[in-house]
């Protein structure tokens, strides 16, 4: 019998400061492109993170992944690195990158990818910056 494939999503959250700023540009050009997001003294968000993994339920547990284990992985490699931090200054994997949510979701993907348990694949990460703005990344 073919094992059914399922997607399991874990929702987490973190609060952080950032700014959008390209150091290769003048302040005027940054202000023109990034507007108030370029405020030199930072601003911040309550970010919501949705991590979706793909796999087949284990015959022993019925789980694609133990949701508690997934939470611990996300906590160790993402939340503890980002929560209550300044994303531009405090986060090693954002160093020298423009701190957009596109670049942030890419960084989060690569924090989690090597830490997935056997038999489980990372499928999608959705990162919500405000109730009106979010990005999705599938590893492409």
């Amino acid at each position: 019998m073919m094992m059914p494939v399922m997607y399991l999503t874990r929702r987490e959250h973190f609060n952080a400061a950032h700014k959008l700023y390209n150091p290769a540009w003048s302040k005027e050009q940054n202000d023109a492109v990034f507007g108030k997001c370029a405020n030199e003294n930072w601003h911040g968000h309550n970010f919501e993170l949705f991590v979706t993994v793909k796999g087949s339920p284990s015959p022993d547990t019925g789980f694609v992944i133990d949701a508690k284990l997934l939470s611990q992985i996300i906590s160790t490699y993402v939340i503890e690195v980002l929560d209550h931090r300044n994303l531009n200054i405090d986060v090693p994997f954002m160093k020298d990158k423009i701190c957009s949510i596109e670049n942030l979701v890419y960084g989060i993907w690569h924090q989690l990818l090597p830490n997935m348990p056997a038999g489980v694949s990372l499928h999608k990460i959705q990162l919500v910056e405000t109730p009106r703005i979010f990005v999705e990344y599938f590893g492409e």
Binding site: A16, A17, H18, W42, H43, G44, R85
Partner: protein, 138 residues
């Protein structure tokens, strides 16, 4: 005599802050405020709900013109707080810890003089979807 009603206007702003008491040592600040004391700031999507209560004006059917209320909030709060660092960029917090409690009180004091004395005002401020404060308390 008009009926008594409450009207609510919801707005939002995104800002950075940190919690710190400058009269304490670094270790005491860290002990009390935890991650909220980290030096390089963090931030929130604040949701602000302004509640105005009073008698309906018989001439307009309004308690308050919501466009006027919206403009008051925008000019006095959002334009000054949104995409700012509350500690660094907002004068009211130069010497006041920008907790949700204090932010709500500051917003109340900014808006109160701009609304008719016949109307009462209450501020609800969400710092996160799970933490919010109200001022004045009822």
């Amino acid at each position: 005599m008009g009926e008594i009603v409450s009207v609510f206007r919801e707005e939002h702003f995104n800002a950075a802050h940190r919690l710190n008491n400058p009269s304490w040592t670094d270790s005491k600040n860290k002990e009390v405020f935890g991650k909220c004391n980290l030096p390089n700031y963090h931030g929130h999507n604040y949701v602000l709900i302004v509640k105005v209560t009073g008698e309906i004006d018989d001439n307009t059917g309004y308690l308050i013109d919501m466009k006027i209320l919206s403009d008051i909030i925008k000019e006095n709060v959002l334009d000054r707080f949104d995409h700012k660092n509350l500690n660094e960029d907002v004068i009211e917090f130069k010497e006041l810890n920008p907790t949700a409690e204090n932010i709500a009180i500051v917003i109340y004091k900014l808006i109160r003089p701009l609304i008719s004395e016949l109307l009462s005002l209450q501020i609800r401020l969400y710092e996160t979807p799970r933490n919010f404060v109200e001022y004045p308390a009822q």
